[in-house]
Assembly symmetry: D3
Homo-oligomer: 229 residues x 6
């Protein structure tokens, strides 16, 4: 009873380039600190920063068959998001599948499992965020779903949602919220630029953010030396 959903809403695609410029931490903050995938997902090379529309793919543990099914559903500007139905760190993905995705214009891969051929993937500059690097191959025996709503590394991913990934990790942005979040990210970055200049000039966060009074209210005391333990 596995399905492949062939039509997904890629309306947020035009915003992807701007999101890639902001990066995961800024976008995560801009949308109210939600949508961050588990920090166990790490990029195979650095620095790297991408954004794209999610195509989702489930896999049985130790079985990468559905990746080939998923490739066909990918288009220019997508990010392939892969999650096994139970935890397994096998190397489900390597340079041949990356070649196929790159030929279709896919921006990168996010997988809550292992990958291999990372030297070649790095040479190809094909971005991957994975939970492991592992040369262990997989079989092709069991089917699962493509382009259904999944939970990957702790976050719900709806096909067509924007996936933003860089050295800091991976964030998902709901497609309906993408315009609003992008606007807030822009404001945040503008605000940070201003703050950065203040910090460079030696101003303190305590003063920039007016924290001293509230800290005192909470009971923070300044003393000359540490009392005996």
């Amino acid at each position: 009873m596995s399905i492949v959903v062939t039509k997904i809403d890629r309306s947020a695609q035009p915003l992807a380039a701007d999101f890639a410029g902001f990066g995961a931490a800024t976008v995560h903050e801009a949308q109210g600190r939600k949508g961050l995938l588990d920090s166990a997902l790490r990029p195979i090379y650095r620095p790297v920063s991408i954004a794209g529309t999610a195509v989702t793919c489930e896999l049985a543990p130790g079985d990468n068959w559905m990746l080939h099914v998923a490739v066909e559903q990918c288009q220019e500007g997508d990010v392939l998001v892969v999650t096994p139905t139970s935890l397994c760190h096998d190397g489900y993905f390597g340079d041949l599948l990356a070649t196929s995705l790159q030929a279709r214009g896919v921006r990168g891969l996010v997988i809550n499992a292992g990958v291999r051929d990372i030297a070649t993937l790095t040479d190809m500059e094909f971005p991957v965020w994975s939970a492991a690097v592992c040369a262990q191959g997989t079989v092709k025996e069991t089917i699962a779903n493509v382009n259904t709503t999944v939970v990957c590394a702790g976050q719900k991913i709806v096909p067509g949602d924007l996936v933003v990934a860089d050295d800091d990790g991976v964030v998902v942005v709901r497609k309906e919220e993408a315009t609003t979040v992008l606007e807030k990210a822009k404001q945040r970055v503008a605000n940070e630029e201003e703050k950065r200049k203040q910090f460079e000039a030696g101003e303190l966060g305590l003063d920039i953010y007016n924290m001293r009074e509230r800290l005192a209210e909470k009971g923070l005391r300044y003393v000359d030396s540490e009392p005996d333990d």
Copy 2:
């Protein structure tokens, strides 16, 4: 009752250079997906790719005395494979031992434990795969075996077996099977080159591997949209 075995079968040595060219994932596949060490073993720098004949060394936890014994048993083209008798992430190995191994023509170190001096090891271009980086030193009080058959990171290693290691991890190849595995690896790589061209040209794995019929038989269905949850 610890022993050092002084004569081991290095007959697979002439094949090492070819194996290094193929890398861990290809070799692992070529021998039927066996022989992969635990993916917790990672290289201290990348990219890197070696192969050589295994010299094995056991250590007591927190004790690196036997490494000095093992060095004497190493020859040009060997890979030193080290496993503590129980898990401990201390830094058993550093730049002086690496200097000694490099002087003997040893290709690299695989250790299911920690190492240190990794900045110097990287400068020296001495390849190391380890389970940890840790500055914690060790004592020299307890003896163990050198060049006996061991289990390291989940795999049986017989001295003289070929160890193939790169960015993807570490694989052991039985010396008796090395010629056969090498042949299969060559075929695999040739086959992959052909496939790579097809993928680059935009062909799909679904078609290249004739998967569509079998997927349909398993019950995979294509639909326009995801049914309500």
Copy 3:
């Protein structure tokens, strides 16, 4: 009842540059194998080597408010040492706080938690050792202590102690012992240089350290082949 201690003993500061030259493993050995922080703390980029006087900061889990308080206590040549009061891998620290610390001449950050903006931190060449990289932000609601004696990643840190950190990890040196440890580190390095030449010339540790007799006394035997299992 949280406090900020405003006066700490930075008398070991003048020794910091020399310590940075020796690195964590050498210093750890020189002081009798003590003072090493948990090896889970890893640098965000490599190679890197620093030393400086510790300014300590506690945080509530998921709350980075006290970092702003700690910044004000930092001076040229300090290393900020941060530990949450219970384990949490959120990204407590990013590029704005790094800018503020760099403006004050702080040498680096050691944090038993997560950081973010690591691409920017790497570009800025601001050294960080952390237990995780995580884009998850934090709140500013709860106060804690600055410049009190803390346990960070398994080691007691007294403000003003020297923190030595490099690719191998992080070591703390008591300020009262810094001169003695530095002297021992110098001797150790001099001794190692001599040893390195011997190793490069192909001499064995077994001979350099006169180990053969003691190994024989412990019962180590050399045999031609491995007995049957």
Copy 4:
């Protein structure tokens, strides 16, 4: 911008007792192997088996304030499902909150974090599944959501969904699917009873499930002894 949703759909409540009788593994199978929370969630005592309607609660790391808000939303037959917005193993829940929940007829707690007072909770026979046991207390400074859709331990939980938990773990059943899943669970158990008798009588799964032919087709061979390695 945190909210408490005060009206949730508890229409699946009448089915809870039957689900508790079947247990997590059976229910998980009956609904097509989906809905299982991460196996890191373990019961604090055994044996135990419950089912109930989910009331969800998010927490800031190290902050259990919202638990008090969630308690008010709980009714007879509910299971409280708690997830911190980022990972933290503090002990968010103890015997006083359990007393409050038990007074309201709540069936148990599922929390992707730590709990404490487990000796008392065991004496009270208040069932808890947690990721840790930890005496570390929490603050009450930050608000979050109650009775919104959450991801807890890798699964989406909609308030009012059925949560089924026992010695094997925790499974969520969508309320819309509860009747269907219950029916399948009944069939499965009936079928298993029959199978159990066959197994007790010494019949083999190979014959009961007619596996021999398909195994042979896959290439399984029976041999007298293991070929040399």
Copy 5:
């Protein structure tokens, strides 16, 4: 340069029985949420609750020699606190050492490492908190310190400090603060008893602790249904 300190301050001993009655979570709260050892330390059987004066013992990894030295320093009412100088989960402690400690009136063992013979230890009712259970034995080759100040599982332990341990974990109380902490623990328990009655009667924490106004100020809103995602 290892030492055994033969005289330690056991003046907090008379308070131990009262502390054991309160348990780890209560004592941890009573002293301002400090002093909790890493929650990875778990009791080998439950329920269990002890308190006693700490005798400390360091061990080399994989080496339990110093335990025999430590036993001689133990007296009626002590708790032996053991920490390896680097992490190793070997089984350093078994039923013979427990017999020896029990003969001296020692209350229990806290060890940041492994133990074995746990079936016998359970039969003997000798309480142990450990990081692992492991049958792997250890050698007796390397000396270390007894009754010096150590860091064990993340907390500083001074010999003579009170160690309080139960099903929830292990807490250390400075001997100088023991009387004050005990008083606060008594008040806390008295206060909790009152609260428990209110909770049993169905009163809500929201009202008992007057939280509603502050929650509203923070911006918490009550709504009938969840807004669309």
Copy 6:
């Protein structure tokens, strides 16, 4: 190319009952501290102690098909030893398979993966050592080997070897060495009984084992108080 080896050497079977009486730690010591499986394997209930001849079974990750093949190879007095070809914590084994094994007189299961139905398994008193408890089911698509030599949880297991398992863990004894190891275990236990009486009488290990002189030679010093840090 998967095989089932139908004839294995069960000559060590008559010794199994005696081994079960001694337990894992004693047997591990008696054979020179080798053969211990990873301590991550834990019994699902306690106390428990078994021994039997190993029947080995490999599994593909997430696939328990070969368990049914393995059951047929099991006889009275065997212990089934199961290892996935790559790490996966799914629940491969439950009460029906246990019923089948129990009907054949199998002593227990050792599996480097997950199991489920543990409440029923406990009621049945069917001993299991596993790396996880997980309700996640598995498929039946991929074949592997039965009764070949495997590495399970870090140890080589040859079919017919004796597996000894109790609350402390799991040890393998080579069948050729079983008689010798049993003899040594008897001596060890006799010796321990004597020692236990001495310890109960308050004698110290320092004296029983004559450790004082050697400790002094190593440099251990007794002092009245700890020097300043």
